[in-house]
Structures are given as structure tokens and as C-alpha cells.
């Protein structure tokens, strides 16, 4: 057992060393080759192409939250798909259609929100 452990972890350590060296190499070449000119705009934190907000503690627009809620719900409900993928081929055909019903309900929810204007940015 200990040897097996050592061998398995040895592979991990080896991969870590190789990875670390690759990263260091890239940073080093970048450092040696890159031209360096700085300006005020370049010093700004990057924020998805939008000009950065004035303060770090500025409030996030409340509209983001609605999308966050929608994302959260639809994202997490998809967790039922993973166990289903593993068993549905071995199960009775009804299991397949049960999941289709579930997805249809999710889809209905999305379409309902869409028609009600949930996805509009205002």
C-alpha cells in the first residue's frame, strides 16, 4: 500500500513540478520579451469591457440580481440530469419521458418569464 501511494502521489508531484515550470517559463519569456508602457487606462481593473465602477464598494445594480436568481434556479435544477444520464439507458423507457416532462416544465418557466419581460434589461 505505501508504495502504491508513493507512486500515485509521485505522479501528482511530477505533474505539479512540470506545470509550475511551464508557468514560470511563460512568465519569464513574457517578462523578457514584452514592451512596457503604462497609462492611466491600462491601470484600470478589467470589467467585461464596461468602464470600471468608481469605487470598489459601489452598489451593484439591482437588475443583476434578477438574472442571478434566474441563473441560480435553472443552473441548479440541471443537477437532476447527471444521475439520470447514468441510469436512463438501463431503465424502463418511461424514465426517459419523465425527464422530458421535467425539462418541459423548466422550459415553460423560461418561456413564461421571457414573455413576461423577465429577460429584458430595464
Amino acid at each position: 500500500m505505501p508504495q502504491e501511494y508513493a507512486i500515485n502521489y509521485g505522479a501528482v508531484v511530477l505533474a505539479a513540478i512540470v506545470g509550475l515550470m511551464a508557468v514560470l517559463f511563460m512568465f519569464l519569456t513574457n517578462y523578457l520579451l514584452a514592451p512596457r508602457r503604462s497609462s492611466a487606462i491600462k491601470g484600470l481593473p478589467f470589467e467585461c469591457g464596461v468602464p470600471a465602477a468608481p469605487f470598489t464598494w459601489s452598489q451593484i445594480n439591482i437588475r443583476y440580481y434578477i438574472f442571478a436568481i434566474l441563473f441560480l434556479v435553472f443552473d441548479v435544477e440541471a443537477v437532476f440530469l447527471f444521475p439520470w444520464v447514468i441510469i436512463y439507458l438501463k431503465s424502463a423507457p418511461i424514465v426517459f419521458y419523465e425527464m422530458l416532462v421535467f425539462l418541459a416544465i423548466l422550459l415553460f418557466g423560461l418561456l413564461y418569464g421571457w414573455k413576461k419581460g423577465m429577460l429584458e434589461w430595464q
Binding site: I66, I69, L70, L72, D75, V79, P83
Partner: protein, 101 residues
């Protein structure tokens, strides 16, 4: 690692969450504390599934359902908190006191 470890971890997490619910005054933080309690439940379920249940399936299935119901609960609660914030301009539970006794 034994069953006792997971049980202790989950109990500690549950109590921390309960403390948060009782002590925090910001609605969003109260909600986060409740989520902590639900995660304690998940650890408990997975622990029991791994150490006591030979099939190991039931506990994991329960945990998946707990996760999804918790997500729906957060979505709903956040929507209500958002509505409250728009009407009252605060999410501090001490200031939400139109009704007493």
C-alpha cells in the same frame, strides 16, 4: 475519518448557521446562514450514506433533492428581499417592524 467526524462537522456547521440566523440582522445574511444549515444537512446525509448505508444511494439522492430545493428557496427569498428593498430601501430586519404584537 469515521462517521463521528462527519456528524461532528455537520453539527458544528448547523449550530454556526443557527447562530447566524439568530444573530444577524441583514436579511441576506440570515438567508446565507440558513444555507449553511442546509449544507450541514447535506454533510450529514452523505456521511450516513457512506458509513452506514450499504447501498449508499438513498443518502446521496436525498442530498441532491435538498440542494435543489435549497436553490429554489434562495431564489424565492431573494426575490422577496428585492421587492422589500425597492419599497423600503433597507434589508435590515430591525427596521422591518411595521407589525408588533
Amino acid at each position: 475519518m469515521t462517521l463521528l467526524h462527519t456528524e461532528l462537522l455537520s453539527a458544528v456547521l448547523f449550530v454556526i448557521g443557527l447562530y447566524g440566523v439568530l444573530a444577524r440582522r441583514n436579511a441576506v445574511l440570515v438567508l446565507m446562514s440558513v444555507e449553511l444549515m442546509l449544507n450541514a444537512v447535506n454533510i450529514n446525509l452523505i456521511g450516513y450514506a457512506a458509513f452506514t448505508d450499504p447501498g449508499r444511494v438513498l443518502g446521496q439522492v436525498l442530498a441532491i433533492f435538498v440542494i435543489t430545493v435549497a436553490a429554489a428557496e434562495v431564489g424565492l427569498a431573494l426575490a422577496i428581499i428585492l421587492r422589500l428593498y425597492r419599497n423600503r430601501g433597507t434589508v435590515n430586519l430591525n427596521e422591518i417592524n411595521l407589525m408588533k404584537w
